[in-house]
């Protein structure tokens, strides 16, 4: 079966629409996973999923948001998998050359808050990343995650509440 012109057009549209969303999606993955290499791997995985699903996508002008959702879901899966293993400290440079600074890890390690964000449930991490590191509105986040607006608000509320509580606890411990 020959690849027909409409399919070729699909390919071109995929390159155009998903290509334009690629930097944002890669950055989302980077800040969720805190590791450039893993972000690249996750984004590649998301590309594969997106390409397979592409023929079924109708509203392609919103493909960027749709692709963000795929990336977020891939990252959430990876974050869940991590829970059964080790937690890599943000300042863990063991085995890396001094020049191989990971930009995402470096950004997240500038503040203790970065480490605390990574202790949140993955759903909350995604909302925090989209809200503060992608600078999206709550409505935009709801669209990207395909969840009700109330769910986004709820996840953000609990994320902030948890982070505040942990920060206050640390402050109190330092004061003692």
């Amino acid at each position: 079966m020959a690849l027909t012109e409409p399919v070729a057009e699909e390919a071109a549209e995929f390159l155009r629409l998903i290509g334009s969303a690629l930097p944002g999606a890669y950055n989302l993955a980077g800040y969720l996973l805190g590791d450039a290499t893993e972000a690249e791997d996750a984004t590649q995985h998301a590309l594969e999923k997106a390409w397979r699903a592409w023929p079924r996508i109708r509203d392609r002008e919103r493909a960027g948001a749709w692709f963000d959702r795929i990336v977020a879901n891939v990252c959430k899966d990876r974050l869940r998998e991590r829970r059964g293993f080790r937690v890599l400290p943000l300042d863990d440079e063991v085995g890396e050359s001094p020049s191989a600074v990971d930009p995402f890890r470096e950004a997240l390690s500038r503040d203790e808050l970065g480490r605390l964000v990574r202790t949140l449930p993955s759903d909350q991490q995604v909302v925090v990343a989209l809200r503060f590191w992608r600078d999206l509105s709550l409505d935009e986040i709801a669209e990207r995650l395909d969840v009700p607006l109330g769910t986004v608000k709820s996840r953000l509320h609990y994320a902030l509440k948890t982070l505040r509580r942990q920060l206050d606890r640390q402050t109190a411990e330092v004061a003692r």
């Binding site: 690849l3 930097p23 944002g24 997240l108 590191w133 709820s154 509320h157």
Partner: protein, 508 residues
Amino acid sequence: MSTREDPELEDRLRRMGPGPEREAPASLYKYMNELARGTERRVAGVTVSRVRPVRRGSFGFRMAGAALGFAAVLLVVFAATGLILGTTGPRPGAVGPPTTALPGPTSAAPSPTPAVVATPESSAGASPAATLTAAGFTTSGAASAWSGFTSTPLRSDSPMLANPDRAGSGVSQVLAWRGGYVATGSVTVFGRTMPSFGLWTSPDGETWTAVTSVHAAAVMVSVAPVGLIAIGMNPNSTERATTAQSVWTSADGVTWHDAGTPNLAGSLVSIAGTTSGLVATVDTSAPSADNAARPFVIEYSTDGVNWASESIDAGLASAQAGYGLPPHVQTNDGHFYLMGTPGPATSSTGFELTASVAPGDEMWLSNDGKTWTKSSGGYSMAADFIDFGRDGMLLNTNSTGIPGGTGLAHSTDGGKTWHDDTNFGPLGPYVCQGECASGPDGAIGSNGTVFVAVKNGGARAWLSYDGHTWTSISWSGGDAVGSGYGESGGFVVMPRGVLVGGVYAAAR
């Protein structure tokens, strides 16, 4: 719940954020292209084969099927998102490594209306000839007997506009080759650069196809002994001398091969070639060096990968530093034109050019890219770049007294001698009060065959083949002056029309 339920914490989270968005690795774009254009892909369990030829290019520019299969869609992409083109050598102002930072403002979706598609009037009867000269730099059929223009405003967010806020936006380089056209540069879609779409080909100057196998944030293209060569750059912020560069070659304009990493002495500033060889001007300065301290070298290659420094005629003026233009090279009709200011010969680089300044700015001519003869000059300001026409050449010069000031000179003997044109052809000088930059009251450019002049504010245009004798032609539609030409500086004479500021004017 308020979106600012904990302002201190939220601000702290934002400060941790990424700031400028990081570009996605080239490997991801490559993988995406492989997915979409692989030899096989599986959709709903059905294996489908590669795109097969739909039609064949008719102008000797062999556009094989895979590329043409995408043409219809990518034409819209191209038209809506812009392309990068120049005449026969990249203009210095447009070809330096673009900022790597992804564009600031996120623009709206591009216009669905193809802006660069010539009108039926312009395309009728304008079939390019398939003639290939020995130099391979003809623009046959690019323009002939244009009687006027019909302009169409571009959307304000069109990446075809040269907008400094959008990395790689705007049109800067067009190359005619074997009766077809090659366009280079990165493209902005939705405010994001699209490295995969940095190279375009067209058999007729109307329908454009992205070469998705070339991956780079910015691309320069040139004719070369092998056929065509594209050098892609992935600039790394201010680290000019460490810019990552890759070479792709093509014998037919359709299939491009990754030829590896060029051994250039630094960051590519300009490149031009013929069927016999390639010449490049290269910035060897250390990261974050300023203009006054930027050393440049001239290098020669036959394959685009292996480069050796050139020794240009020495014994010229000593190096000077200061405000100026990076040296650059252009070609036309098999001849090389090199502009810059000579510096002291060194044992390591052979010959070094510093940032161009006037007086002392020079032009050299060569037929082979290795033996150079100095032009007799005749222009009074620093040589910037040349516009080539069928019967003459126009040299755009640059004032060092007031940054931004420009002048014009014409030559009808192949660049051996020049004559200042203080009236800027039919345009006249721009009149301003007080200390301000001099320049034409409009814009002048060429597509290799014709020169076009467009007047500021008057919706008037002129045509010339030698840059000296001008014929008034009509201009209908929107006025170019209202399009932000002065701010964006965009003026490119395309194969089938002109891009001026915020409008595309199709020729008829």
